[in-house]
């Protein structure tokens, strides 16, 4: 005799038994977002092979054409095929996205771990420096760096990296702090392990989950911020164009030829949302102690 299912959803236990959880790769949100991200990555990697027209090829007889069979995404005001430009733009967008995040980690990972491990004065110096950086409005700080360093792709990566590294530092530090006072860290100290060993071999593995989430979320933000700078003309220089710059170019005829703006925006949106959704699902799993 079955008496009935007990429903205690919303109780404060909130922990779903391990065996009840769907594996991550069967979570529809994770799979959906992952697929979208993979499509973006493949499009960017294979861009030169799949674009139907050279992205810079102008045709003044076919300017501002709406989407058609010949030009799926239509053409811009110089008659360039928008589909080709958007796909090629993906390369740039992803490149500076990953570049900026690498920059964030380069600064944030050691800073966060050291800050968490040593605490005290070291922590204060590192974190207060980061606070100062973080107190500038993101766009303003980025603008400042780009104006001093000059607009090009490399400087854009550095600028976005510096703007966002305090946040990465905080995330890494917070993740490391949760285990900093665990018995196994104390045991390692009592064993006579060097600080470097404890930071790299004991603290870092516990922070990996949070770092993966941080990479996903930060990629999204970095791409948005990078696109903003490109939109302002402070990053990639024409005729090459990332999605931000494409939107910028579409600005003057946005009402007449909306497709010139819609398609790059659509690409930015799908990429950024897929990254955030991925980050969120991994994050949820981490809270349940599943990943890692």
């Amino acid at each position: 005799m079955t008496i009935g299912t007990v429903d205690v959803a919303g109780t404060d236990t909130g922990v779903v038994p391990v065996h009840m959880r769907r594996p991550l790769w069967r979570d529809p949100v994770f799979v959906g977002a992952g697929t979208v991200l993979l499509i973006h990555v493949f499009l960017a990697l294979l861009a030169p092979l799949i674009i139907p027209y050279p992205p810079d090829q102008m045709s003044f007889s076919a300017t501002l054409q709406p989407p058609s069979l010949e030009h799926w995404f239509g053409t811009d005001r110089y008659g360039r095929d928008l589909l080709s430009r958007v796909i090629m733009g993906g390369q740039l967008t992803l490149a500076f996205g990953f570049g900026s995040v690498a920059m964030c980690l380069l600064i944030g990972l050691p800073a966060g771990l050291i800050s968490a491990y040593y605490g005290g004065l070291v922590d204060q110096v590192i974190m207060r420096t980061m606070d100062i950086l973080m107190s500038f409005p993101t766009l303003l700080l980025g603008l400042l760096i780009l104006i001093i360093a000059g607009p090009d792709l490399g400087n854009l990566i550095i600028a976005v990296g510096i703007v966002y590294c305090p946040r990465t530092t905080r995330v890494v530090r917070a993740a490391a702090l949760t285990v900093r006072h665990s018995a196994f860290i104390e045991a390692a100290q009592a064993r006579g392990e060097s600080s470097a060993y404890i930071i790299v071999r004991e603290l870092l593995p516990c922070a990996w989950g949070a770092i993966i989430v941080e990479i996903c979320i930060r990629l999204g933000y970095a791409i948005l911020l990078g696109a903003s700078f490109n939109y302002l003309g402070l990053g990639v220089q024409p005729p090459a164009a990332d999605w931000g710059l494409l939107v910028h170019e579409a600005r003057s005829q946005m009402l007449r030829a909306p497709w010139t703006a819609i398609f790059p925006i659509l690409f930015i949106t799908t990429l950024v949302s897929s990254l955030h959704l991925l980050g969120d699902t991994i994050d949820e799993r981490l809270k349940e102690g599943d990943v890692g």
Binding site: V8, V16, P17, H19, P205, G289
Partner: protein
């Protein structure tokens, strides 16, 4: 006979995917008579908490009743709607969870939390609810209840919090209270007080109680009936007294025999084999570990009736019963003699050779100078001295906050002492800001925290290989690791597993193996096994003893568990708020004269074992004065049952010395103490045979 207040019949509970492996309760039948207490005993993972949650309809997500029914006061619980049940829980059936600090809302005042239930269930207005709250706090023997209502939980001690939880449970005058491990994590004195309170409530209110615990002693004092659980099954149930005296299930027998007792002779406590692999889901769940198992044990066996309400699920219950009452047969003289010889090598404690470790006048204080003005210093460790001979086991006893963990951290070099000296084989260690690696190798420590003692993401091979890499700069061969893990009674198949996949006992034993790996000369066990259940503790104690014989390691054994430390230690030091109030051989300390603080510990331990030594004068509920705050006088003065007068508060007590390195820091001379205490506590037998 009238129908019991609560009756659970043939209850089976499973989690998805609802197969045999996920069936956490199998045909559990229990009954609680009105006004009686039922004790549910079992190891961790035996399903005892699930029974409580099933009665409360509070199973974790996905939990499902496969079969059976629960009747409460003549009503079928399992057939009720949620609305009907809501009016029942909290009002008729109340629940007290294990960790009082986690079950009280830290941001609400005690008064608010107490009156919530009354407003909901009884529709009381604020004024009368408040009055009732005061009466309840008074009933659970909390002082100054009116002021307490406006306190927040963090302002109360653990024992007081648990009393508040009990008061909350009583708020709507329930007929049944379920307590899940209500005293785990409290020190022995507080634990005794809580159990006494429950006993009183049971009588006065004719309250029915379900007490869930792995602490057999706690259950023995309170329960009228008991149910012993193993592997999701009730293996034996019935009236408490006969079962405690002479159980009829082999598992119950082994479990009860594994109970270390202060009073019983320290015979070689019986040992239940380590739990291996998985528990069988058909037939007797215990058969894989049972020394009396026969082929028929694998068959489904409903239960045998020993007499009236006494049921056992043991096929061979007659043979088990035939073994006779527990205390008389278990200690065979030969074994005990061997045991005593093993554990107390001749002359331990009086060795003339240089001690392995010597600590003298060690002080560790918190509070630092600010702007040149010294702040009031709080001393976690205050002038502690001891010596540790080779192969000796030193027990350090004290309740939480007595500074015993800080002492351990000083010795392993995790914190720097403020003053004093620590010498390892004559070499001064206090000068180092970080110990050299060789010193680290020689002093190994196992911490209390089971969950955090091993890196959760490393495999056992990596964890266990690390000492070899660190101290010997080599990667050990697989068979070396296999030998190491086997030495703590674990199977080699655990090596590729991650620490997070291990059970608590497996983790602590792995931590022990890692600590043994570099062959340390001093091993510190800081409450390392306090969280394990009784049978597991005994097995670990035996393991430590065997390894000690093999390696000659000296051990500092830090614990608050008096009966347990009696079983392993050669010498003891008793700490109270950072201060050593008594030192001496284990045998001496556990019989009069006691330091009055030791006396309260012994008193509590004996009470837990069901004896009723003369009642100790009621002392104040332990307040939360920080350790070492008493600058003048005896730190124990405010709690002392044998306080002489103002001298205790104004002058620090002299250290009185007796034979065999015995020291007591008290204003009362040793002989007077002995005289006072001998009348009340017959000496505790450490040597064989002298069971009172």
């Amino acid at each position: 006979m009238a129908e019991p207040l609560l009756q659970v019949e043939n209850l089976s509970v499973a989690y998805p995917p609802y197969d045999a492996e996920r069936t956490v309760l199998r045909q559990v039948s229990l009954a609680v008579e009105s006004g009686e207490a039922l004790g549910i005993i079992g190891e961790s993972g035996s399903g005892k908490s699930t029974v409580a949650l099933a009665i409360l309809d509070y199973l974790a997500t996905g939990g499902r009743y496969l079969d059976g029914r629960i009747r409460f006061a003549g009503k079928e619980l399992t057939a009720m709607t949620r609305r009907q049940k809501r009016s029942l829980y909290g009002r008729e059936i109340a629940y007290v969870a294990q960790d009082p600090s986690a079950s009280l809302n830290p941001s609400l005042k005690i008064g608010t939390q107490l009156t919530e239930g009354m407003a909901l269930h009884l529709g009381m207005d604020a004024e009368s609810a408040r009055k009732k709250a005061v009466a309840l706090l008074d009933e659970v023997r909390l002082r100054d209840p009116v002021r307490l209502l406006d306190r927040y939980p963090h302002q109360l001690s653990g024992g007081m919090q648990q009393r508040v939880c009990i008061a909350m449970a009583l708020a709507c005058d329930p007929s049944l209270v379920i307590l899940d491990e209500p005293t785990t994590g409290l020190d022995a004195v507080t634990e005794t007080a809580i159990l006494d309170l429950l006993k009183d409530l049971k009588l006065k209110r004719r309250l029915s109680i379900i007490l869930i615990s792995h602490n057999l002693a706690a259950v023995a004092g309170l329960a009228d009936a008991i149910a012993i659980m193993y592997g999701g099954m009730v293996v034996e149930s019935g009236p408490a007294a006969p079962i405690f005296a002479r159980p009829a299930h082999r598992y119950s027998r082994l479990l009860l025999d594994a109970l270390p007792s202060l009073r019983a002779p320290s015979r070689a406590l019986s040992e239940i084999p380590w739990q291996e692999a998985s528990i069988p889901r058909t037939g007797c769940p215990f058969r894989d570990r049972c020394d009396m198992a026969i082929a028929a044990c694998a068959d489904e066996f409903s239960s045998a009736v020993v007499n009236e309400s006494w049921l056992t699920r043991c096929v061979r219950w007659k043979d088990v019963l035939a073994a006779g009452p527990r205390h008389e047969c278990a200690s065979d003289a030969h074994d005990e003699h061997a045991f005593s010889a093993q554990i107390r090598p001749a002359g331990a404690g009086t060795t003339t050779a240089m001690p392995v470790l010597s600590v003298s006048s060690l002080v560790h204080g918190y509070g630092r100078k600010r702007l040149g003005r010294p702040e009031a210093e709080v001393r976690a460790v205050d002038d502690v001295s001891f010596e540790l001979a080779e192969g000796e086991t030193l027990g350090v006893i004290g309740e939480s906050g007595s500074g015993k963990s800080t002492l351990a951290r000083c010795v392993v070099g995790l914190v720097q002492p403020t003053a004093g000296s620590i010498r390892l084989a004559g070499k001064e260690l206090t000068g180092f800001s970080r110990y050299p690696r060789e010193v680290c190798r020689q002093i190994q420590i196992v911490f209390q925290n089971i969950a955090g003692s091993l890196h959760p993401r490393k495999t056992m091979s990596r964890v266990l290989a690390r000492p070899y890499q660190l101290y010997e700069h080599r990667t050990p061969a697989l068979d070396e690791l296999q030998r190491l893990i086997a030495s703590v009674g674990l199977k080699a198949h655990l090596l590729p597993k991650r620490a997070s996949a291990l059970s608590g006992g497996e983790k602590q034993r792995s931590a022990l193996a890692r600590a043994y790996a570099p062959r340390p000369s001093v091993l510190i066990l800081d409450e390392a096994f306090s969280a394990l259940d009784a049978s597991m503790k005994i097995r670990v104690a035996r393991l430590i003893r065997d390894r000690k014989q093999e390696l000659g390691t000296s051990i500092i054994f830090i614990t608050h568990d008096l009966p347990f430390v009696k079983y392993v230690a050669d010498r003891l030091i008793v700490m109270y708020r950072g201060w050593v109030c008594e030192t001496g051989r284990a045998a001496d300390i556990l019989s009069p004269p006691y330091h009055p603080y030791t006396e309260t510990l012994v008193w509590a331990a004996l009470r837990l074992e069901g004896e009723r030594p003369a009642t100790l004068p009621e002392t104040a509920e332990r307040d939360s004065t920080p350790a070492g705050a008493a600058v003048k006088g005896c730190p124990f003065a405010s709690q002392c049952p044998r306080k002489l007068g103002t001298i205790c508060e104004t002058q620090s007590p002299p250290v009185r010395r007796g034979a065999e390195g015995r020291q007591i820091a008290c204003h009362i001379p040793m002989d007077d103490l002995r005289e006072m205490q001998l009348a009340e506590y017959p000496p505790i037998a450490i040597a064989k045979g002298a069971r009172a």
